[in-house]
């Protein structure tokens, strides 16, 4: 039991320890708060700008979740199509990989041409950057159904559709939920990039304005808020994964 408690405590101890170390280094070496503010200074800034930060963080949260939601829907659909058809898979893979290798920050200007500055570019950037891992994982899960299982069902007269929905999709769920953890962080990156370049609200936009005005504590405060928000969203996704695919997490490694 002792080790279990230690494991549960470890993240907190390490996190608090990290910030204490940071604080000590800043004070001992008298680092200028323009270069690296101490955690206490940042915390003060977070408190000072709390209303502004909360408002922009909520906006970013919405942009991220909207883009992420689109990515989940689209990713599941495309993943199912790619997973069930080898032809479509082989044909579209180069296109997908090519598209995915474009840094999404380069796409934002095009989104602005199309939709103007506002909430659409951040949402779409979040979507575009995060759907790929979902597609690949769902497709892999479906395409790797055991041939024996397929034979059992096909000999009963099962259609391709039956096999995909009875075996492929449930089988792909652990891959899918695994990819969500990657996708949520990517969507977050996407929405912040979108906000920095093509929005008047959101943490991304706040960051751009604060750095232009050399408001260093506000920049750091915004970063901390970003980190906290990211951890919360990741944890929520991981929780959903745990509760949905318990059957896949029975290995000793996962315990």
């Amino acid at each position: 039991m002792k080790t279990k408690n230690q494991l549960a405590l470890a993240p907190w101890v390490f996190t608090v320890g990290f910030f204490i170390l940071w604080e000590v280094v800043c004070r001992a070496l008298k680092v200028s708060s323009f270069i690296l503010p101490a955690p206490s200074t940042i915390l003060l800034a977070v408190w000072e700008y709390r209303n502004q930060l909360a408002y922009h963080a909520m906006h970013t949260l919405w942009m991220t979740l909207a883009g992420f939601g689109l990515a989940v829907g689209f990713g599941l659909l495309l993943g199912m199509v790619l997973g069930s058809s080898r032809l479509i898979n082989a044909g579209s893979y180069p296109l997908l990989v090519g598209f995915n290798s474009i840094p999404k920050v380069a796409v934002v200007p095009i989104l602005v041409f199309w939709f103007g500055v506002g909430w659409v570019p951040p949402v779409l950037t979040a979507f575009l950057i995060s759907f790929f891992p979902i597609v690949v994982n769902v497709a892999t899960g479906i395409a790797t159904v055991e041939p024996e299982m397929e034979d059992v069902l096909r000999a009963l007269g099962a259609s391709k559709r039956d096999i995909v929905f009875k075996v492929g999709v449930p089988r792909a769920m652990p891959y899918f939920f695994g990819s969500l953890k990657v996708a949520i962080t990517l969507a977050y990156v996407g929405s912040v990039i979108g906000e920095q370049n093509a929005s008047n609200v959101g943490i991304g936009n706040l960051l751009t304005r604060a750095s232009a005005a050399f408001e260093v504590p506000l920049v750091w405060a915004a970063l901390v808020v970003l980190a906290v928000l990211g951890v919360v969203m990741y944890a929520a996704t991981a929780y959903v994964e745990q509760s949905m695919t318990g059957w896949a997490q029975r290995s000793q490694m996962a315990a």
Partner: protein
Amino acid sequence: MKPFVDIHDVTHVYARAEDGLPAVRNLNLKVNEGEFAAIVGPSGCGKSTLMKLATGLQFPREGTVIVDGKEVGAPVKLAGMAFQNPTMLPWRTTLDNILLPLEIVEPHRSRLRRHKAEYVAKAEGLLAQVGLKGQGDKFPWQLSGGMQQRASLCRALIHEPKLLMLDEPFGALDSFTREELWCVMRDLHAAQKVTIILVTHDLREAAFLSDRIFCMSARPGRIVAEREVEFPRPRDLEITYTPEFAALVHELRGHIAQARNAA
């Protein structure tokens, strides 16, 4: 008697075979209704191809495959299958795994929801027959390999198939569990009157369980010997220690050795 499965002069080449060599050539095989047939042969002789041909998962390049009086042109739908790998779906309980074929095959498919209780009772009956009474609520990964294989047999039989295809179903089990399952299989066959084709490497298994044994040659596979097994049923495991049994196994071994050497 009219054969239930009639594979007549079949040659089959897989579309994906790179060397273009047929997997089976001039294959002839007849299995009567209700018969327990075993197919033995050196590894890679096309036994699995034979299974796919008989269930309509593959169609022969040449020759005809007739099952239940009809030439096979699509998956036969009246077959149950079990493999060496039990292939249980880990997200379903054992019971739900066993019910899976009913979600596919008509008329059960459209009846399943309304007559669930009746089907569950049937599945539980099968579980009891294979010695898994009350284990239906467990997930397959909570069962041992031998228990999973028993459940896999239940899944293959739940829709009352007229043809049961077994591809080395006991190959991965230890010898005690294997002998136990031989008896389970023997009793299931006696109770269900289903036609069974068992593909196996184990000559004792073939001799103990089947009414008729076919020996296949190395690839491209064809039948090199056919042997009726005349031990009276019901058979007890003790017969596997009789001189007649040993002689039969020895004879089969001779055929296989020849088939291997010919390759």
